[in-house]
């Protein structure tokens, strides 16, 4: 084994020397929510331009931004996909590795939908219902008590008398953050639990995000296909999906409107449907002009044919950004992003 330990890195080094030729394809990594959109664009880009098809990896928003900030050069990625906005800590780590200029491109919105199996019960929910069903502590007769609701009818008499069982994204998923902020926190405010928590000394009402641990809410660390198969086994349960996933599986899922609004690209774009988030990608400006096709890829991505209201991505379930025109102008002038507000 000693010989193996020495030989393998040696071979690797020799190989590295021979591989010194320039990289000619764009490399992209990041959010698994943005991944399908990025592959659709990469595929169309590869078949319509003379550049090679970009190589797209998943891995998660945070991991993608971290990779983007690893430094400059051919062994680092050119674009990070992200389903949440870049954080100051990412910008700082970028700067310390010499990645000074990043361009932020917001290309559309993604809706989060709640659905049960097609033969399951019908639900029409509000954030307050969600909070009362899933939170660890709820307000009852003006006091904070542990959540003992067993069925949805316990929460709200208008709902079916089905046991509460929800499959929600695990904490490593970007969609969990949206669910927490737009549904659970909103419900916490609406039911008055936030007030009660603040009165009890929890100034930021952090207790809002504590979900019950008695099995009513199940974290799914896998992807939406896992949530879908769990629903197939528990038709009465509710699951959390991305809009595009739902639109590809409307024959198996029954969507639950939130506050009376059914999620569609129209209701999400207008802001009527509350649970949505912007989608971004971040471009390493130092690589523009060095990696062939990078500029063209970014311009192609924000063109009307792709990200516009009738574009390719809208077919897959992207909610178009009403301000796409401004984004396009920003890309054309290659303006790097300023400091975060």
């Amino acid at each position: 084994m000693t010989s193996a330990r020495l030989t393998v890195p040696a071979i690797a080094l020799v190989a590295a020397a021979t591989a010194a030729e320039a990289r000619d394809q764009i490399q992209i990594a990041g959010s698994s929510t943005v991944l399908p959109y990025a592959t659709i664009v990469a595929e169309a880009f590869g078949e319509n331009f003379d550049f090679p098809t970009p190589v797209v990896q998943g891995g998660g928003s945070g991991a993608g931004r971290k990779k983007l900030c690893e430094g400059l050069g051919e062994n680092t990625i050119d674009i990070a996909n992200s389903s949440s906005r870049i954080k100051q800590s990412d910008i700082d780590s970028c700067r310390s590795n010499g990645v000074d200029e990043i361009m932020e491109v917001r290309f559309g919105y993604d809706g989060i939908v709640f659905a049960s199996a097609i033969n399951g019960a019908e639900y029409a929910l509000t954030p307050a219902d969600w909070y009362s069903a899933l939170a660890a502590r709820v307000v009852k007769d003006g006091a904070l008590v542990d959540n003992t609701a067993r069925t949805w009818a316990d929460v709200n008499p208008a709902l079916p008398a089905q046991d509460i069982l929800a499959f929600i994204p695990g904490t490593k998923h970007g969609s969990r953050e949206v669910f927490d902020v737009k549904v659970i926190e909103a419900g916490c405010e609406a039911t008055g639990a936030a007030e009660a928590m603040k009165a009890a000394g929890d100034e930021k009402a952090e207790g809002c995000l504590k979900l019950r641990t008695d099995g009513a809410s199940v974290d799914i660390d896998g992807d939406y296909t896992e949530t879908l198969s769990r629903l197939a086994a528990n038709p009465a349960a509710l699951g959390v999906f991305g809009l595009s996933f739902y639109e590809n599986n409307t024959d198996k899922l029954r969507v639950a409107p939130i506050s009376g609004v059914t999620p569609t690209t129209a209701t999400i774009a207008s802001g009527e449907y509350p649970v949505s988030r912007p989608l971004y990608f971040y471009v390493k400006m130092a690589h523009v002009g060095v990696i062939p096709g990078l500029r063209e890829y970014v311009e192609f991505f924000v063109s009307d044919d792709i990200a516009g209201p009738d574009g390719l991505l809208a077919d897959y379930g992207l909610v178009p950004d009403p301000e796409l025109k401004a984004t396009r102008d920003m890309v054309a002038s290659e303006t790097p992003m300023g400091p975060l507000e």
Partner: protein, 448 residues
């Protein structure tokens, strides 16, 4: 010691034909043991059968695909407005332009065959054709600009829902609830099939084409994944066979027995038990971050899998060398062979079958391994084929197991079928590798 200390002698006159109680017990124990063995094998066989049946029943349909046979008028006004046949100008026409030609051709074909369409808009009809079709036509035209202005018969992919209907995955009931397909489209598909415009046939492109995006599952193929896996196996074989065999020969035949070699032996056994993801982390740190090898490249995957496979090859190789009878060595040394001649002329040939068995198992594990590849960027969407060897080792590629992993995560149900199809391809790949190794082993097999 008196005779009384002995147990009483067995009663005489017992017949061999009438076994006594003890013999009966022994026989019963043996029968039970045989039954346990048969049960164990039966359980294993049933598990294997269930696995195979489920994979085959889900996956075989991936090898068949629904195609439209369509005469398409390659209109010069659309494809080459300048009329110069200048390749640069031809490339300016995107697949969107070609898509319109296909829509028009499909509309004309439907009208010409006298099918009446009810409740279908123009966009509903064009959504029955795969988005890949425009790319197919475009690359045909770019390859041969003389086609412009003529009408050509094309075999283009139907969309995944229509394909699913032909294979029974999509039904009229599910289509009524599905936002991507309507029952009217399925009626039209039936009518087209009756006219011979639509049909299902064996799909080589599933094996040769690259992966496709989620908008066109019908076009996704395994070409790059198969190439990537093959490249990685070449790297693993080229590195782990010589290194593994050399290490085991040295350790078994030449190394002095001391604490240091004991330490190495313990470490090899421990390495074989290290979870494979650890090798991925090591590969990321050494080969990509330190040595600067490219991401997503089969060479890095091969190196990482070599590290993982080596201990799993060395352990059985040492066992095989140890199993060669000492008499063979003694005889060779006795007639004056040197130690090295003894090893290479006598011990190694006799140990080869055992070494190859270890190699097959090691390579089989390496072929199916996904976890270490996650970290070195092999789980990527790659559409450009890697070059030939050896340069292609450095081009981005995918691998069979990560392609399966990738497809099971996708939203469109058509990818689930393709994932099962990919498992079949992986199994065939594995069987082919094992068969080759068995043939080689047979040739070396020697008895003493």
């Amino acid at each position: 010691m008196t005779d009384a200390a002995f147990p009483p002698a067995r009663p005489r006159g017992g017949s061999l034909l009438e076994p006594d109680a003890r013999t009966l017990r022994r026989n019963a124990a043996e029968a039970r043991f045989r039954l346990y063995g048969v049960t164990a094998i039966a359980i294993a066989m049933i598990a294997l059968m269930i696995l195979l049946i489920s994979i085959l029943s889900h996956g075989t349909s991936a090898f068949r695909q629904t195609f439209l046979h369509l005469p398409i008028a390659l209109d010069e006004a659309v494809l080459d407005p300048s009329g110069t046949r200048d390749p640069a100008a031809l490339r300016k026409v995107t697949t969107i332009g070609y898509g319109r030609l296909i829509d028009r051709a499909l509309g004309e074909a439907i009208a010409a065959s006298g099918i009446t369409v009810e409740g279908l808009g123009k966009s509903d009809i064009s959504r029955m054709v795969s988005r890949q079709a425009a790319a197919t036509v475009r690359s045909a035209v770019l390859a041969d600009p003389a086609l412009i202005g003529t009408t050509q018969e094309f075999r283009i992919l139907a969309s995944s829902r229509i394909d699913g209907y032909m294979k029974g995955r999509v039904t009229q009931d599910s289509a009524a609830r599905d936002s991507n397909v309507s029952p009217a489209q399925l009626h039209l598909a039936d009518a087209l099939r009756a006219q011979g415009l639509l049909g299902t046939s064996f799909n080589w492109r599933f094996i040769t084409d690259p992966d496709a995006s989620e908008l066109r599952p019908e076009a996704a193929g395994l070409g790059i994944a198969i190439l990537g896996s093959a490249y990685m196996m070449i790297v693993v074989l080229a590195l782990s066979l010589p290194i593994g065999v050399a290490a085991s020969i040295y350790l078994e035949e030449f190394a002095p027995r001391n604490r240091f070699t004991d330490l190495i032996e313990v470490n090899i056994s421990n390495l074989a038990a290290v979870p494979s993801i650890v090798f991925g982390i090591l590969g990321l740190a050494i080969f990509i971050n330190f040595a600067g090898l490219p991401q997503s490249a089969p060479v890095v995957g091969g190196l990482v899998l070599t590290l993982m496979t080596l201990p799993r090859i060395i352990i059985p190789a040492r066992a095989a060398i140890k199993a060669v009878p000492p008499s063979i060595r003694d005889a060779a040394l006795g007639v004056g062979a040197s130690k090295m001649q003894t090893v290479f002329h006598h011990v190694l040939p006799l140990a080869t079958p055992g070494i190859l068995t270890g190699l097959i198992i090691g390579l089989g594990q390496a072929l199916g391994e996904t976890a270490p590849l996650l970290l070195i960027g092999m789980v990527a969407f790659v559409r450009d084929y890697p070059e030939g060897l050896p340069g292609g080792l450095f081009d981005p590629a995918s691998a069979l197991p990560v392609q399966i992993y990738n497809w099971t995560q996708r939203a469109d149900p058509a990818f689930a079928e393709r994932a099962s199809g990919a498992i079949i391809v992986l199994l065939i790949f594995l069987l082919a590798m094992n068969a080759a190794a068995i043939v080689v082993r047979r040739r070396f097999e020697r008895r003493w």
